[in-house]
């Protein structure tokens, strides 16, 4: 086999990679449909489908707005912007900046972990990294519109105010307690 051929084969296999989340959730949906059918016949099985469709339709305007906001945030805040901003910051001020950076950075774990990884390599402190990841998880401005649309304003506001303190708290706490271990942490990072 020529090397060129094996390369195309690898790309082909990558493109056909199975999305296990979809597979798993489809199985859950199928299982629930079977339970509904056993319990209430085809009438209940259809009720479930109908209720799901109606709920999806009712949140569609909200979802469209949320997708647009997510797209706009990705355009307005670039990855390079946050990266440059955070690599220049350190100390207590750096931890707060990392919180804001984490809140603004768009994209899923495949976006912010590579950034956090490169910050770790370039010498960022433990508090900055913990604050960045925690703020992405709890303050994320791209995730909030989805939460608002799908969980409702009341739960979103409660959740946000309850968890608001966590990113800076964890950042400062980690820096104070384990900050001196950063070189050993860097050892196990690839």
């Amino acid at each position: 086999m020529t090397p060129a051929r094996s390369t195309t084969r690898i790309t082909f296999m990558r493109r056909r990679k199975i999305d296990w989340t979809t597979v798993f959730l489809s199985l859950v949906a199928l299982g629930l449909a079977v339970v509904a059918w056993v319990r209430g016949g085809s009438a209940l099985a259809l009720t479930g489908l109908k209720s799901g469709g109606e709920t999806l339709l009712s949140v569609t305007p909200l979802l469209l707005a949320a997708f647009l906001i997510a797209g706009l945030t990705q355009v307005l805040v670039s990855r390079q912007m946050v990266e440059r901003w955070l690599s220049a910051s350190a100390g207590w001020r750096g931890i707060l900046l990392a919180c804001v950076g984490g809140a603004l950075i768009p994209g899923g774990p495949y976006v912010y972990y590579p950034i956090a990884g490169s910050l770790l390599k370039s010498g960022a402190g433990l508090g900055v990294l913990i604050a960045f990841v925690s703020a992405k998880n709890l303050w994320s401005v791209t995730r909030l519109p989805y939460e608002f649309a799908l969980l409702g304003p009341k739960l979103t506001l409660l959740r946000f105010s309850f968890t608001f303190i966590i990113p800076p708290l964890l950042g400062f706490g980690a820096e104070a307690l384990f900050g001196r271990l950063i070189d050993r942490i860097r050892e196990t990072a690839p």
């Binding site: 209720s51 909200l62 972990y113 969980l151 966590i166």
Partner: protein, 162 residues
């Protein structure tokens, strides 16, 4: 139109005018990104909402209340955290599911514990963390973060409205 829809639309329009004023096609790129994200997540969204529909139809109120209802205390909070750890997928999948569980009678404490544990501890995102940050970072972040959903769950359970 609900106030939630209105708020999101106003926010989207404000960001859109901001992007438009940059005069570099930012607003057009935002539409393209939003559209492709939606197309990519649509199959997952449909599956998630089928699950939501069956949760509604099967009326699991009694089951939800006895496991994570208001007044289930620490037990409910821990079950909520375990569920959050295992929930797969992004916000557009997880939030409808948690929303339907909450409407089926889950307590505020277990619900907030579930959201917090999914956001900060979800096993699927740890699998992204390990290859970039190494196991020492993950271990430290997870052990520091583990107390948070417990604390938030207990605090929210103590709210008078919960």
């Amino acid at each position: 139109m609900t106030s939630a829809t209105l708020i999101l639309i106003v926010l989207a329009l404000a960001l859109l005018s901001f992007a438009y004023r940059r005069q570099d096609g930012s607003h057009r790129r935002a539409f393209v990104i939003g559209w492709s994200t939606m197309r990519r997540t649509l199959p997952l969204l449909i599956v998630a909402f089928i699950i939501v529909g069956y949760v509604n139809a099967l009326e699991p109120q009694a089951l939800v209340r006895s496991w994570i209802g208001p007044g289930t205390g620490l037990k409910g909070v821990f079950i909520g955290i375990a569920a959050g750890l295992l929930l797969p997928g992004g916000p557009y999948v997880v939030f409808p599911l948690i929303g339907s569980i909450y409407r089926s009678g889950a307590g505020l404490g277990p619900t907030l514990a579930m959201i917090t544990s999914w956001s900060t501890l979800a096993l699927l995102s740890v699998s992204f963390e390990l290859p970039f940050m190494g196991w020492r970072f993950s271990l430290l972040r997870l052990s520091l973060g583990l107390g948070m959903p417990i604390l938030i769950g207990l605090l929210a359970s103590a709210l008078p409205s919960a």
